[in-house]
């Protein structure tokens, strides 16, 4: 008998006013797998992620983590479920009132109750894992470049050794070299932890580097889902148009064509 998926979305719907963002989206992510969800802007990728994390409540459908339905969970249960997860936000979302080390150690101190001195040591260890020196620990996040902030965000996401890690546009706002550094770190860190990962991206190069499997979302639905090494040859017209970056094809943009 095959293992149940680590994360499972079934027929999830979410609208904002008249705009239907998720339109019966269904997706399974297996344990230890790295799934990258690609798609244009406004197709529902980030909303899907926020629904899984409970930051947004969908109108209908089901979301399971380890077989447990997470929609409508009581606060305490949800917090318990979130302890299994880590998240790297698009612009890192570091707490600017705290120094770098406290950002990294936040989950260890608040959720796991680790002593501050031990948590600081652990944070410095995590910082070295993402290639940052120990002298960064006492800096303020505002003093760091976006690339460094993302690395601190990654250190925070993996500090509690989560079973599931979410990445929201990890290479957005970075130069290609720093983007590659982040992709490599994501791949190495998640393999080292053996975590299940879900990444949202529209960067094809990044997706192919970190994904075992890729899913393409269009208008709130998965229109293609398959192994990362088959994406170039899958023959799906949506995927082909997305890879080519053409305006002509089945993907319609909400803009006036030139």
């Amino acid at each position: 008998m095959s293992k149940p998926p680590k994360i499972s979305l079934k027929n999830v719907h979410k609208s904002f006013g008249k705009k239907h963002v998720l339109n019966g989206l269904s997706l399974d992510i297996m344990e230890g797998e790295s799934l990258v969800v690609i798609g244009g802007s406004g197709t529902g990728k980030s909303v899907m992620l926020k629904c899984i994390l409970g930051l947004i409540t969908p109108e209908s459908g089901e979301i399971f983590i380890d077989g447990q339905q997470v929609i409508g969970l009581p606060q305490a249960e949800r917090e318990k479920s979130l302890r299994k997860t880590g998240m790297l936000f698009q612009y890192a979302a570091l707490f600017d009132s705290l120094p770098v080390w406290e950002n990294v150690a936040f989950g260890l101190i608040q959720a796991q109750g680790m002593a501050r001195t031990k948590a600081r040591e652990k944070a410095i260890e995590m910082l070295s894992l993402v290639g940052l020196e120990a002298d960064m620990a006492d800096r303020n996040p505002a003093e760091l470049s976006m690339g460094m902030q993302k690395r601190v965000g990654l250190a925070r996401a993996i500090a509690t050794h989560p079973e599931i890690i979410f990445f929201d546009e990890p290479t957005t706002g970075l130069d290609p070299i720093m983007g590659d550094v982040i992709d490599t770190l994501i791949r190495d860190c998640t393999r080292h932890l053996g975590a299940t990962t879900l990444t949202i991206s529209h960067d094809m190069e990044s997706a192919q580097k970190i994904a075992d499997r890729i899913a393409l979302i269009y208008k709130g639905e998965v229109v293609w889902n398959g192994p990362a090494n088959e994406i170039e040859t899958c023959g799906n017209p949506y995927v082909e148009q997305f890879i080519r970056g053409d305006l002509d094809g089945p993907i319609e943009l909400d803009i006036l064509k030139p």
């Binding site: 926020k50 930051l55 606060q75 318990k80 936000f89 979302a93 707490f95 600017d96 608040q110 925070r156």
Partner: protein, 258 residues
């Protein structure tokens, strides 16, 4: 035309009721989380410093000059019917019962309410509040409850200091400019002052502290739309605090009159 007018009134009424409902739920959540563990002592102590200690100069200056002006104005009025001896009593009762709590509340709304709304609003639009949730930390407990509790505790302490500084200001003007005898001024100040004058001011100020911090947190928490949204939240926090302080002042005065 008539229907449009009625529809507009209906829309305004519905929006108002929705806002009242939203604020009521927020208030209930806040009060609940003040009493339920976990308690963030470190954050609470930091807020005591931010709201209390750092507000001392502004509250002190306000109280000093209010006491000085009050002594001058009451002297002008009371000398018209040869009641100059009432200056000390009216200054101390006016300050402790009314002016110190209300003016301190308004100054704190400008200084602290705006800062809280801007800080939490920025955290909202930069996804830092979402990051808190993903790190299994309840934003109500971590951000709102410590600030509101610190406001309720520190404002009475500030008002107690303002009472002393304000009375001293009145004493300075009365003895140095208006020719009052220092010992009889002090005697008149304390002869007619009752404990309930001071206590009623402290009760009022605790309510004002609650209002200011709650409004700052509420508007910051619900801010949307980037920098402009944070600016709007800050303005709304200050304006709504001012209005609620003045309205609640009337009802508290009626309640505490006897």
């Amino acid at each position: 035309m008539e229907w449009n007018f009625l529809a507009a009134i209906g829309r305004v009424a519905l929006r108002f009721l929705a806002a009242v409902g939203h604020l009521s739920l927020f208030t209930v959540q806040t009060v609940r989380h003040i009493f339920l563990p976990p308690f963030y002592l470190r954050i609470f102590l930091r807020q005591l410093m931010n709201i209390g200690y750092y507000s001392l100069p502004v509250v002190g200056m306000t109280a000093l000059f209010t006491g000085m002006v009050l002594a001058l104005q009451i002297y002008v009025g009371s000398s018209r019917f040869n009641a100059e001896s009432a200056v000390a009593t009216i200054v101390v009762i006016g300050l402790t019962r009314e002016l110190a709590p209300v003016l301190s509340g308004l100054m704190i709304a400008g200084r602290v309410g705006a800062a809280i709304a801007a800080e939490i609003g920025t955290m909202r639009v930069t996804e830092q509040i979402d990051a808190l949730v993903t790190l299994s930390t309840n934003p109500f407990k971590y951000l709102v409850a410590p600030r509101v509790l610190a406001g309720m505790i520190t404002l009475p302490l500030l008002v107690l200091i303002a009472d002393i500084i304000g009375v001293s200001g009145g004493y300075l003007v009365a003895t140095e400019s208006l020719g009052f005898n220092p010992s009889s001024y002090i005697k008149n100040t304390f002869d007619f002052l009752e404990a309930r004058d001071v206590i009623s001011g402290l009760i009022k100020s605790s309510v004002f502290g609650f209002i200011v911090c709650l409004m700052g947190c509420y508007h910051g928490f619900n801010s949307t739309g980037g920098a402009q949204g944070v600016g709007r939240a800050t303005t709304n926090a200050v304006v709504s605090s001012f209005i609620l302080i003045l309205i609640s002042d009337y009802f508290l005065t009626v309640m505490l009159l006897d």
